[in-house]
């Protein structure tokens, strides 16, 4: 993916937060992106392809978090904090109605997007759990697979607007509870103390 295309996709992303992109024609999108139509067509032939590439870029942006940080030897709980913060920074502006639109108008592309994301996060969570067990911050009497699956189930739940309408629940709050519950449910006493101290010092920083 070359730089110019990345920038186009980044702008597409921002555009989708502000406007109902589904109603716009390809030409109109190009206009809003301030990119000549022929340049855009050089990258994607149709609006559907643009959506597909935009979601691919979205997944890539998430994966980049793990590429730009060297987590070798870092405390598993610290890793959770770092990743959560990065996610907050990048993903807080996502409009929930965008998800509804994607599900409705591009169901197959969206389904693939969710499945890929799921697999990636699931793997990372398992690694985090195993790391934490080795480091003695998580208990060693748990089923890594089961704990990771339950976490993923909860993560899927909080993305579901039927269960958690955005008017009633802020995603940030739900996510912070999800991570909090995750740590508290598997931490050793040392891990729990470390986690609580870290939380305390972070809230003092605000």
């Amino acid at each position: 993916m070359d730089e110019q295309f990345k920038q186009i996709l980044e702008r597409t992303r921002e555009l989708s937060f502000k406007y109902p992109v589904r109603r716009m024609s390809f030409d109109k999108i190009a206009e809003k992106l301030e990119v000549p139509t022929n340049i855009l067509k050089g990258y994607v032939k149709t609006k559907t392809e643009l959506v597909e590439k935009a979601l691919e870029f979205e997944r890539y942006s998430f994966k980049v978090i793990f590429l730009t940080h060297d987590f070798e030897g870092v405390n598993a709980i610290d890793i959770l904090f770092v990743v959560s913060k990065e996610m907050s920074n990048r993903f807080q502006d996502i409009n929930p109605s965008l998800t509804v639109d994607l599900r409705k108008y591009y169901p197959e592309i969206y389904q693939k997007h969710i499945e890929d994301k799921y697999d990636f996060i699931f793997d990372k969570m398992k690694i985090n759990i195993e790391k934490g067990i080795q480091q003695g911050v998580y208990r060693n009497d748990l089923s890594v697979e089961l704990v990771a699956r339950l976490y993923m189930a909860r993560l899927m739940d909080i993305h579901n607007p039927e269960y958690f309408p955005s008017a009633k629940f802020s995603f940030e709050l739900l996510f912070s509870y999800t991570i909090d519950n995750f740590v508290r449910s598997i931490a050793t006493p040392e891990g729990l103390e470390y986690y609580e101290n870290k939380k305390k010092s972070m809230s003092l920083e605000k």
Binding site: S143, R149, D157, S185
Partner: protein, 204 residues
């Protein structure tokens, strides 16, 4: 027509469905297994869907009664949660994921309705328990009751779709206990955690 007979029908039919599945069992099979004529059976239920609905209602009522009939005197919020979890596990013996699958597939409205009612019941109990636990100084003061309740209750639904359960890799009991343990650890303060670990140790 008697209530006793109805309960007998519902309990036995439930057992039959549990054993053989829902799709495979006909009303002929039911009446034969129950040792009654179809005419008698249809005095109590309109059709198979009605029978299933009544079984679900009965199951829900039975679960609620188990909780209500307990003597909660002298028990703190954590004791209550632990007792209920044991009762739920007991009640769920014989649970087969295939039943839920069949219900969702062949009787989706019935299932959705049943599950919504169940979620509401559980939510009510959870909210109550969270308030008690906070008052008793066993749960953390600053927890958001509604968020925690909804996170637990919505997870119940996902639980039934859990691959590991459906493939038989892990038992319902194990999944439920893990969820439950995670719920308690997510809400207790230091004192509550110490108490929980102590009585968990005693119960083994």
């Amino acid at each position: 027509m008697t209530e006793e007979k109805l309960i007998f029908i519902l309990k036995e039919s439930g057992r039959i469905f549990q054993q053989y599945g829902i799709r495979n069992v006909s009303m002929d099979d039911i009446s034969r297994e129950l040792g009654m004529s179809k005419k008698t059976l249809y005095q109590y239920v309109e059709n198979k869907a009605d029978l299933i609905q009544k079984i679900l209602e009965y199951h829900h009522l039975a679960e609620k009664n188990i909780v209500v009939e307990q003597d909660w005197k002298g028990k703190n919020a954590i004791d209550v949660l632990l007792s209920i979890s044991q009762l739920v596990c007991e009640n769920m013996k014989g649970y087969k994921p295939i039943l839920i699958f069949e219900l969702q597939k062949y009787y989706p409205d019935l299932f959705r309705n049943f599950f919504d009612i169940k979620k509401q019941s559980v939510a009510k109990g959870l909210r109550c328990n969270l308030k008690s636990g906070i008052e008793q100084g066993l749960y953390r003061q600053n927890i958001d009751i509604e968020v925690i309740t909804q996170l637990y209750v919505q997870n119940m639904q996902e639980l039934h779709g859990l691959e590991m359960l459906n493939s038989g890799e892990v038992s319902f009991e194990k999944v439920f206990q893990t969820m439950f343990d995670s719920h308690i650890r997510g809400i207790v303060n230091q004192q509550g955690l110490e108490y929980y670990e102590k009585i968990k140790g005693l119960n083994k």
